[in-house]
Point group: none
Chain length 408, copies 2
């Protein structure tokens, strides 16, 4: 199967404000055909650099998607640069010019002279119809390489890709099925996880494995491609059967669901209600739980007890306990969770108390409390990292503590 | 002035889910030094392609920033690929290994064998300290070209770039004075703001103007570059004198401070304390207020009252009021704020109640309440957009309501 590369053209994509997002859509479409995107490049509206980029791509890759630079102005250079790079002429097409003029008429506007530039195509190119704008696309085959010239505006690009490029690519490429396994893991560092499972996935070079650390969680993607659906599925099943037992119950989802969604579903299935008592995170846990639509089915509310006095006043933590153990301690974490459970009437309650920093001793030390209908417990965690990470990671551990309790 | 290119390394950046955003930060930083970014490339964890990309960049550009691929696992190839491309050896550095081991010890973990990979550097490289993670960066000079190897995680990358790369780049590059005006604005749409101030900034083509909408706020950056400091400063002052009166008190900061920081400073100056009562946002406001270090100086805590029953139980909102006006109403927003103020003993309290969706009538309707020592008020807002935006934008309006009250 040939590989693809994507070249996004436009000086605005080299500023601090703007990013090329068309490539995400294109990658998704190409992957579905079994084609991997192996390189993405962003270049400005500068003739020399653009030609150099195109020449490099043609020498390497069999599928090249170029986006942008098909407009009518001076700085729209994609057509010219591709023609020069391929050593082909530019050809004026009266039929395209007429279509552009007709489009302007339809919107009661007059075509301005510069739009004639859009009626030039690279000699030998097939024209790709643009039903959302004036710039036509182009499909160029050169030896065993295909170049697609697509417009930059996402709505024009998507419509053109689906209607004009997909059918041509399907004719060109061998049929393929892709089977994916997504595992989401919480409670272990990326390097430990990789050490654990690398011996397995390294034995399957025909499997694409990616391991991604996202805000203290790890997302594992395994992707198998085959001309035969059963074969791709069997390969994934074979690898999953070896990897999943190694990670065990640290896997919290197999379908892309977030940790807060998984915990919510477990609570809903038990008709149980949850409340929270937050100190160091001061709302991040509640905010995360309620990011899930319909979380009101199981989430009642809770308390932000940022000061010692509020821990006593809002949650009933005894002042003597705060003096004896300090606010960041196992007894206080448990007392906070118990207080939230009792004062909201929930079945379960989670608490978080810790030192988020940035200053002071013990930065990163956090206690997570959990109160359940059968008693309460607390867990001590020591995080590396800055204030933002300590707070975000604490919500992971809290949700995971509840998940394990509900799954037990 | 030399040009720069940025190479982002990681197969996950070639999936449909993930995009390289580090380059936006890096572009901003490089532009501020007067350096333009002329090309961005994304390549996967594949040795041949990575080497090919590095060789191409070294042949073209004088400043090359590589991000990612410095981790401890098999697929972290940046160090190796750079060494091979430059024809240099890899050198094991016991001192770096000791530092990594020490970092693990500090967090009560044991360094695993694969982390030793991170102690190898390209022969002749300067080591760039990573104060947020294990992977050290590298600074390599080859003829007139500089290569920077930086870690992929944004918090590690930013800290390293500011502390280690900026001073080195400043020594390397011809001096330029850049004078910047940063205005942060809340309470008006980006397009309205642009229409208001464009007639001014368009008359100054030698001024770089960027307008950025960030989660319901707008950040305006005006940047003047010159070899002469007084000249740059005078230009900024001239433009600011025309733009600021147009926006008025919707400007909440002129130094990059966040809205929650500005509000916190106003509270601290009055020795006043704040509490919150959140329904629709269920902690996002508290979480945001306490993102500011030392927010315990003025933030006491508060209540997450997600259900009607909790609004009564935790905040004393009369059940009749909830029946007569519904939970999303002006009287309930005021009663929630008053309840939080009274039950925490704070001087000020903010409340948020609304329909975040995704389903149901009135999605996007939100009431923000404010209780002060002199009485209480509520504001009705109707947001467009999805659940996430409604919740995030609501915290802007709440903080801005308090800011205006405290500034009056």
């Amino acid at each position: 199967m040939p590989d693809a590369e994507i070249i996004a053209i436009g000086s605005e994509l080299l500023t601090p404000q703007k990013i090329d997002t068309n490539s995400l859509y294109l990658t998704d479409q190409l992957n579905a055909l079994g084609v991997e995107v192996v390189r993405k490049t962003v270049v400005g509206d500068e003739r020399e650099r653009l030609m150099d980029t195109i020449l490099g791509a043609v020498a390497r890759s069999q599928i090249i998607v170029l986006t942008g630079g098909l407009g009518p102005t001076e700085d729209d250079l994609t057509r010219d640069a591709v023609a020069s790079a391929l050593g082909r002429a530019m050809v004026f097409r009266q039929d395209i010019c007429d279509q552009i003029e007709e489009r302007f008429r339809r919107f009661q506007r007059k075509m301005v002279e510069i739009n004639r530039r859009q009626a030039y195509i690279v000699d030998g190119a097939e024209v790709l119809t643009n039903d959302r704008g004036t710039a036509p696309g182009q499909w160029i085959e050169q030896n065993s390489t295909v170049l697609m010239l697509l417009p930059g505006p996402p709505n024009e690009l998507k419509s053109m890709f689906e209607k004009e490029c997909l059918p041509r690519l399907q004719r060109l490429l061998p049929p393929q099925v892709i089977h994916t396994l997504m595992l989401r893991v919480v409670g272990m560092p990326e390097s430990d996880l990789d050490q654990l499972i690398a011996p397995v996935y390294l034995r399957y070079p025909n499997l694409a494995t990616t391991i991604l650390a996202v805000s203290g969680e790890i997302h594992i993607h395994l992707r198998a491609r085959s001309a035969d659906a059963a074969q791709a599925e069997a390969l994934i099943a074979e690898v999953a059967a070896q990897i999943e037992p190694l990670i065990g119950d640290r896997i919290y989802s197999r379908n892309g669901d977030s940790l807060e969604k998984v915990v919510g579903d477990l609570l809903r299935a038990r008709h149980a209600h949850l409340s929270v008592a937050e100190s160091a995170t001061a709302g991040l846990l509640g905010g995360r739980i309620t990011a899930v639509p319909n979380s009101s089915d199981y989430f009642l509310g809770g308390f932000l007890a940022y000061s010692d006095r509020m821990k006593t006043k809002l949650l009933g933590v005894p002042p003597e306990m705060l003096i004896e153990h300090t606010a960041v301690s196992e007894p206080v974490a448990k007392a906070m969770a118990e207080g939230a459970k009792e004062r909201t009437g929930s079945d379960y309650a989670l608490s978080i108390t810790g030192y988020a920093g940035p200053e002071g001793e013990n930065v990163g030390l956090v206690f997570i409390g959990l109160a359940t209908p059968h008693g309460s417990e607390a867990r001590r965690v020591q995080f590396p990292g800055d204030r933002e990470r300590v707070r975000a990671f604490s919500t992971n551990i809290a949700l995971d503590l509840l998940r394990r309790n509900l799954s037990a």
